[in-house]
């Protein structure tokens, strides 16, 4: 899922000074799954923002809504009325959902209530870890189903660097496994360690965010 995490409330307060009627909106898909922008989080943040603004000396009226999906125009329509009454919107959806709302209600300032951070898996309750970097050139077929682009701190393509800790974790975070250690273990278990001995050439990043904004066109689906 796309993961996000709340911005510091202080930052949201900074955005909202001068506004009077705030609409806090969430999205019931990815950001709900990662406990950043579902109904529960929206209904927690809305009163908190009211209190924060009151204590800041800038009282606001706060309303709230959680959309089925903030990245689909028909679902965004559901808040048209509430948005028309608000003079600012705080969105807890990912950057995609936020931008659709900003586009639909172009005269109402939209402020991010979250930072969109990763494409992650909920590994355990309360723990999400990276799985994908949307690099546009998937290598999972070469790396035994474990992604070194998203899960190696240096996105190495040819094996582990010298920073693997004695216990097999990554030097930059003692709770993050060295993904190359896991790749080697899986290759060994399959009797295919040999597969990892081939030098992989420089990666083509042109289909990743580094290559510029994506424009994916499918003529067969166009009307």
């Amino acid at each position: 899922m796309i993961t996000a995490e709340w911005k510091p409330i202080e930052e949201m307060v900074g955005y909202l000074r001068g506004h009077k009627k705030v609409l806090v909106i969430g999205c019931a898909t990815c950001v709900a799954e990662c406990a950043a922008g579902g109904e529960r989080e929206v209904e927690t943040l809305a009163p908190l923002l009211a209190m924060a603004m009151q204590n800041d000396g800038n009282p606001v009226e706060v309303k709230s809504a959680t959309l089925e999906r903030q990245c689909e125009p028909e679902f965004v329509e559901a808040i048209a009325e509430a948005a028309a009454e608000a003079d600012a919107i705080v969105s807890l959806a990912c950057g995609i959902g936020m931008q659709l709302v900003a586009e639909r209600f172009v005269d109402t300032p939209l402020y991010p209530g979250v930072n969109t951070t990763s494409l992650s898996l909920r590994e355990e309750p309360g723990l999400w870890t990276s799985r994908c970097a949307a690099c546009g050139d998937c290598v999972l077929g070469l790396t035994f189903g474990l992604c070194p682009v998203a899960r190696c701190a240096k996105s190495l393509m040819n094996g582990p660097c010298g920073g693997t800790r004695t216990d097999g974790m990554c030097e930059i975070n003692q709770d993050t496994p060295c993904i190359w250690r896991l790749i080697v273990e899986r290759a060994t278990a399959r009797g295919r360690l040999e597969d990892l001995t081939q030098v992989r050439p420089p990666k083509n990043w042109s289909n990743s965010p580094a290559g510029g904004p994506k424009r994916m066109l499918r003529e067969d689906l166009r009307s």
Binding site: K154, G159, G162, G163, W180
Partner: protein, 313 residues
């Protein structure tokens, strides 16, 4: 045998001498004198002098500029280049610039991650965007392609071929241990002419990894120089053992430093023993000797190890 780049380091190795490299960390300022001061202490003592590339993500004088200062002072530099700060375009451009300045030993490494953090009082740049467009393996092959084919990574031709003696790093004792020799083999296949290893203290474990490398024929295709860092206290060894990945320090060595009445003298003694021990291992072609922030100890150590004067080649 025809030489790749004809650097002193390459010639020393080609002639079958036991090679010696050491390190000169550039200053955190544009201070030529700081580089020259280290150069004066170390001149004539080694066949190559590694100039580090913003290690621990703390900004220092560029390794290429530092290398050029050493070269002009009569020391042969090994310019380090990490994959952390530049994409393949900037790297190749800097490589051409290095070649133009007469720098021909290049050590291609991944580089300390910007988030791994500077130690001590330094902050580093944990908020920097790490580049890692290519990894060290790919950088080695890019340098080789420039040198041997006269081609850029993108396929365009260079107007002439830069001569490089290509170095790479090896962490023989890091996990997953079974892959470390295979990774060395990849670096050799990619084009590494010489290898400097992470600091070695556990000679027994290193000997096992070396034996595998020799069995695979790697020690003939590349010159392996184990890294030795002069220990200066039990605390330093403990720190490295616990905090520097890939460095394994036997407890008896830590104990020995702890019990020493003069830790510095003991550290020198330990260093001399380590040099002697790795020298006896089949396939070892030299040492990469470092005395971090204590370069003044090196002349005595190198003399006592019988590694001075360096061969004329």
């Amino acid at each position: 045998m025809s030489l790749r780049a004809g650097t002193k380091l390459e010639k020393v190795l080609a002639a079958g001498h036991f090679a010696l490299t050491t390190e000169v960390g550039p200053p955190r300022g544009p201070d030529v004198d700081a580089v020259l001061k280290k150069a004066r202490i170390l001149k004539g003592l080694a066949d190559g002098y590694n100039v580090t590339d913003n290690q621990t993500a703390v900004v220092r004088m560029s390794s290429i500029a530092g290398s050029k200062i050493l070269l002009d002072a009569g020391l042969e530099p090994v310019a380090q280049m990490t994959c952390r700060d530049r994409n393949r375009i900037a790297m190749q451009s800097d490589l051409l610039g290095a070649a133009a300045l007469g720098l021909r030993n290049i050590l291609a490494i991944s580089g300390d991650h910007q988030g791994a953090g500077a130690s001590g009082k330094l902050k580093g740049h944990p908020g920097a965007k790490g580049v890692y467009d290519v990894d060290s393996m790919q950088l080695i092959s890019i340098i080789k392609g420039m040198r041997d084919e006269g081609l850029q990574a993108g396929g365009d031709a260079l107007t002439s071929k830069p001569a490089f003696f290509i170095g790479a790093a090896w962490t023989p004792l890091g996990p997953p241990i079974e892959f470390r020799v295979l990774r060395l083999a990849k670096k050799v296949a990619a084009g590494a002419d010489f290898i400097q290893t992470q600091a070695v203290y556990d000679i027994k474990a290193f000997a096992q990894q070396m034996a595998k490398a020799v069995d695979m024929g790697l020690a003939e295709k590349t010159a392996i120089l184990p890294g030795i860092i002069v220990p200066r206290s039990a605390g330093m060894l403990n720190y490295m053992n616990n905090n520097v990945p890939g460095v394994v320090v036997p407890q008896e060595l830590i104990g020995r430093m702890k019990d020493a009445s003069d830790p510095q003298a003991e550290g020198i003694k330990v260093t001399l023993e380590l040099i002697e021990q790795v020298r006896e291992l089949p396939g070892v072609k030299g040492v990469h000797l470092q005395a971090i922030e204590a370069e003044e100890l090196l002349p005595e150590i190198i003399n006592q190890a019988g590694l001075s004067p360096r061969p004329e080649v």
